[in-house]
């Protein structure tokens, strides 16, 4: 019998019951909650007179709506200028207080983006099933966990039953072998992958990242990659457990201690695909082929390299893609054949659940150090992923480097990734962003997003247009 993939193992370990039609009831070890996708779920519980099945499996923090300016943050919830946002953040507090769920509220130094907070607290652990009403929950798969985003009805279902009804997905392996070049990060790797397989390439699949380039990658890099599995259509991204995982998890507040640590390490050691495991599909990528990536269009698959150009209509695969290209040129205000390095930036955003961890901020600071943000850039924001990331960065003096270079140093939250708070692009503005989606209007009405790594974003801020970070 063939061996099992990491996904097969995680699935088997969590099946409560298999139904006749092939769907299964899967047990959920951890649910993360935020203010946007939970209010209707809590309301559903109240209407049905139900209680959460298991309180200690849940952890909440507000992130999408929270303001990131120190002034607004000082006055707590009342300081949120937008009344609709204020109600939503307040509703999360009220729901968590009412039901007894642990929440890192806005003023708590542990508050931050759920996908930064979970791993940072050790609330995300290897071997777990992790869900959240947010598609970027795939992030947590970097810990050899089975993690994916769910809708609000499913948030309610997990609160009420600690289970989800699932059908097993297919196994997809993205194998990245070789050594990544200087300045090439997890962000470049995953954007390259999306460029190769397309935004629907992983639909219906659990995507495991393997190969020698992944084995040497930091947890931050792995999280960035898994985070964007969803942009390739895969709800689940995963990386096998190894020493790097263990090193990251050890000593975190929710991580097992003493005897239980030993017991856990033994259980986790098998969280990898067997050598003879069979995948439904394997995509092989040579690490040496990957250059710094920049998206030019309105879907993450519309991506090219820093030395590339906006593709022409002749390069489109078919009529549907051709009409997508045409729409993207118009929306983005770009022309076919235009050089990527000629794209001028109005704003720069360094942050989001994709790239707001300490390693990301260090990479951006290294580029910013001793340099100045270009006079043609209206605003360059650095938004740490959590209060603890912010504190760490300040301890290392990164905040000073950014401020001296002309960046704004903000309070933690999702911020300009999706512009639910006050941080947004103006109509027609181009932004170099370390976030995950370049959809129309994502960062603000009429805003034009280009996805890049933190170092590339910092370099673009300095130059006022895209530049190759390897040449600095």
């Amino acid at each position: 019998m063939a061996g099992k993939t990491l996904y097969d193992k995680l699935w088997d370990q969590h099946v409560v019951k298999t139904r006749e039609d092939g769907t299964a009831l899967i047990y959920i070890d951890r649910q993360l909650l935020h203010e946007v996708t939970s209010p209707q779920a809590f309301e559903g519980l109240r209407i049905a007179g139900r209680q959460p099945w298991r309180l200690d499996a849940n952890l909440a923090t507000p992130d999408h709506n929270v303001p990131t300016t120190p002034v607004e943050r000082e006055s707590g919830i009342d300081g949120i200028q937008d009344p609709v946002s204020r109600i939503q953040v307040k509703t999360l507090d009220d729901n968590c207080d009412h039901f007894g769920i642990t929440e890192f509220k806005m003023a708590d130094k542990r508050q931050g983006i759920v996908h930064v907070v979970g791993p940072e607290q050790g609330a995300t652990l290897p071997g777990m099933t992790v869900v959240c009403g947010d598609s970027h929950t795939a992030t947590h798969g970097a810990f050899a966990a089975l993690a994916h985003g769910i809708g609000t009805s499913e948030v309610e279902h997990v609160l009420a039953t600690q289970c989800l009804i699932q059908r097993k997905m297919k196994n997809l392996l993205i194998k990245v072998d070789g050594e990544l070049g200087k300045g090439i990060t997890g962000k470049d790797v995953v954007l390259h992958v999306i460029g190769v397989i397309g935004t629907a390439g992983g639909n219906g699949c659990a995507m495991e990242f393997g190969g020698s380039a992944i084995r040497t990658m930091s947890m931050e890099g792995r999280m960035t990659m898994c985070n964007m599995a969803i942009e390739a259509g895969a709800r689940v991204g995963m990386v096998a457990f190894d020493e790097i995982t263990a090193e990251y998890v050890k000593g975190r507040p929710y991580a097992p201690k003493a005897d239980q640590w030993e017991m856990a390490m033994e259980a986790w050691s098998d969280l990898k695909s067997d050598d003879d495991a069979v995948f439904d599909k394997v995509v092989e990528i040579r690490a040496e082929d990957i250059k710094p990536q920049v998206t030019w269009g309105t879907s993450p698959e519309m991506v090219t390299t820093i030395d590339g150009t906006v593709p022409t209509l002749e390069e489109a695969a078919d009529d549907v893609e051709r009409s997508g290209f045409k729409r993207a040129y118009e929306y983005m205000g770009l022309t076919a054949g235009q050089k990527i390095t000629d794209i001028k930036l109005d704003r720069v955003f360094i942050g989001s659940c994709t790239n707001s961890r300490i390693e990301d901020l260090r990479a951006a600071a290294e580029v910013a150090k001793g340099r100045k943000v270009s006079g043609s850039v209206k605003q360059a924001l650095v938004v740490p992923g959590s209060g603890l990331v912010k504190a760490q960065a300040e301890e290392e003096g990164l905040d000073k480097i950014f401020v001296e270079a002309g960046f704004e140093w903000r309070e933690p939250g999702c911020s300009m990734c999706l512009a639910m708070n006050a941080d947004k692009l103006g109509n027609g503005e181009h932004c170099a962003s370390t976030s995950n989606r370049n959809f129309e209007g994502r960062q603000g009405y009429g805003g034009r997003t280009h996805l890049v790594s933190p170092a590339m974003a910092a370099a673009a801020a300095i130059a006022g247009h895209f530049v190759d970070v390897r040449e600095l």
Partner: protein, 212 residues
């Protein structure tokens, strides 16, 4: 949840691939703590010529005359026809809520993003997968004849065209059962509460660090 058995309605063709959830319902409307009322802001940035705001009156806003749902011939449409990877992007259930609130009961496309597909079934909205060639043909038929309607029969898993042609589609038995009967799946899962408890006890013994 509203039950879905047979539905007949006008088809609106949205001829583009990768329609994402930000397009279906832009982020500013996700600030609502309710489940309803998203219909007027469905496809907000495509539908109107200005920027929409939550809790605002949409009646006086300038409409984009080129947008398919603003064209009189598709008024009252309840079946949406689209290209591949419909609903990609975020997990926001506000997307199916907005489609349903607008009046859509079924979508036909060659493929869907997984989370959107799941979410739709929980809200009485039926996402039907048909092969690309068939979808392409339905686009042509819809555009060729004004008032074009399709009948969606979930009981018998088929779409019926005006000429009487029957096109079969696949759907999970469990999802079909829930949708046909308008069932809340939390109630169904709780019928297995003893099995969940038994699993949980085993897990507590093998992985005590997961339980505080």
């Amino acid at each position: 949840m509203k039950a879905f058995t047979v539905h007949q309605g006008v088809v609106a063709p949205m001829d583009r691939a990768n329609i994402d959830t930000d397009m279906i319902i832009p982020k500013q409307f996700l600030k609502s703590i309710k489940r309803s009322g998203f219909g007027p802001n469905l496809f907000d940035e495509l539908r109107y010529l200005d920027e929409g705001q939550p809790d605002a009156d949409n009646s006086g806003r300038p409409l984009n005359p080129d947008f398919v749902l603003n064209q009189p011939r598709y008024s009252g449409a309840s079946v949406l026809l689209a290209r591949e990877n419909f609903g990609c992007g975020s997990s926001r259930e506000h997307a199916p809520w907005a489609l349903e609130d607008f009046g859509f009961r079924a979508i036909i496309a060659p493929s869907y993003a997984d989370i959107f597909y799941n979410n739709s079934f929980k809200n009485g909205l039926l996402p039907i997968v048909l092969d690309e060639e068939t979808v392409d043909r339905l686009f042509k038929e819809t555009e060729a004849s004004e008032g074009y309607q399709l009948t969606v029969d979930l009981e018998n898993k088929k779409v019926v065209t005006p000429s009487g042609e029957e096109i079969a589609f696949e759907v999970d038995d469990f999802r079909r059962h829930c949708l046909l009967n308008g069932l809340d799946d939390i109630g169904l899962t709780l019928q297995d509460a003893d099995e969940i408890k038994a699993y949980e006890e085993k897990r507590r013994a093998s992985s005590p660090w997961l339980f505080s």
